[in-house]
Amino acid sequence: MKRSLPATLLLGLSGLFLLLLIGMPFWWVVTGSFKLPQEIIARVPTMVPHSFTLQHFAKLLSGSDYPVYMINSLLVAGISTAITLVLSVPAAYAFFRLAFPGREALYRIILLAYAFPSIVVLIPLFGMFARIGLIDTLAALVIINVTFALPFSIWMLRSFFASVPKEIEEAALMDGAPPTVILRRIMIPLIAPGIASVGIFAFISAWTEYVFASVLILSDAKRTVPVGFSGIIGQYQIDWGLLLSGASLAVLPVVILFALVGRWFVSGLTEGAVK
């Protein structure tokens, strides 16, 4: 396709604008975390750091509970993501493939999980968790995260299943594959981009979850990064260096996750199957 010069220019400029909009805060935070304290609070901000120091990271990792929070967060987000995937893939396949009475109604009802603001369900949930002894456990956070990630994941994966041509499943059926094998060997590889998207969604929502983590966790040793970190940065004054280095480290797992699963986001996975 050939584009006119103004159109190309417009596309380029909007791309640049978006890049700056998203990239600038990143740059600011990450470079700031390596600056000396005086430079961070300098009256004239510097885009390119003049100084370099690891003192904030050293302070963060050895002088605070940040590593503990990080491990807690990784545990909660990792386990939440794994459970979400293990449950949502077969559930979505069932909603897509099995015909049972009330399927469509049930399929819509699961979205009710999003009908209430989390703050509304927080108090009754606290009561329930207190009764079964889940207050101040990471398991409580995992349950919450999975509960809220599942409905959307199921919806999303069902549409990915629906995009797989019916004939491929029928061919597998003719080949004598039982449903579990069709799911594992044929369908899951074909909806890998969907699984990657759902995985990232589940991980990020668990990673950034604040409200439940701040209420259901009581002891400092069990806090996750969002809650624990907000306590580090200072009760009386803000330690900017600590804040910036902590924020830089907090985005690291998400960036690594994107890099790892990014290769699954390839288009045309079913190319060659039916055309």
Partner: protein
Amino acid sequence: MAELSIRGVRKSFGETEVIRNVDLSVGNGEFVVFVGPSGCGKSTLLRMIAGLENVTSGTISIDGADVTHADPSKRGIAMVFQTYALYPHMTVEENMGFGLEMAGIPADERKRMVRRAAETLHLETYLARKPKQLSGGQRQRVAIGRAIVRDPKIFLFDEPLSNLDAELRVRMRIEIAKLHADLGATMIYVTHDQVEAMTLASRIVVLRDGRIEQVGTPLELYNNPDNQFVAGFIGSPKMNFVPARVTGRTEDGAVKLAVDSLGLAEFAVMPRERNATMPETLSIGIRPEHFLPPGTDGAMDVSLGLGAVEHLGGVSYIYTEPGRDGSLTAEVRGLPGLKAGGLLPLAVNPDTCLLFSTEGARL
């Protein structure tokens, strides 16, 4: 190789009946082609044989064993889909071997079987490729390979060539015919392309609205159709149907007709049953290719208006009133200079004409 028998099979989707009481026997090693207009149920019937659609009532048996409710993989059949339906994330070898793997055949044995099938289809050099690295014809060959590697009793083909371009279609058609000759397997083939039907089939099954209209060899259907639908469906361009009045009978039983639109009188056509009683009005069927040069022995001269003329090189088609009901089509040869307008003298031999009642039954 196997025999297939379909007895009183029906299929309904809710209120709508899509297959209405079909009976059919397919013999060992036969190549049976299902044809019919879209929505006639030909693909549904094939999918019922495959086990991909439930049967509402009736039985399907293969080699005498009732498989009406058996799993697709337990029927000893293989199916080639219109859209190939290859597993895109597997190599050609894995695609062809998947069914064998599911059947529990050990890996080295599987490899040998896949190689043998690949040789039959000239796919040896592509075994390590993924489907997206293949051309359309190669993909279809892999789909066929996936079927033959399992050595099924019956092959099912669901419009396997309709995604290919014209040239490739002819080549694959010949390959499928050769495959049938080599394997001697029973094959059932669905198509809407009557050239495929005529060239491949040992018998053709013509379906309409979920019913079998007629079963026969290609030439039987062409020469001796049971009704107007089959007569019109087999043959291209389509058979002409011209209203006529019965004016009497000859001594040997032929029906004397007046065909006003062609200016024919005392046109004596032999009915299928010599002694059958005739209605007062009926239609005669004349194939476009049965129009003859004027003055041919045994034929009666007619004049056709030249509404439109199409030259295809070897033959030309003339249409009397293109686009209108009752327009006639004639195929003529050796008239490359013919132009629209005026009249063209031709002739019709009554022996090549067929008679149909106004309800469409053959007389």
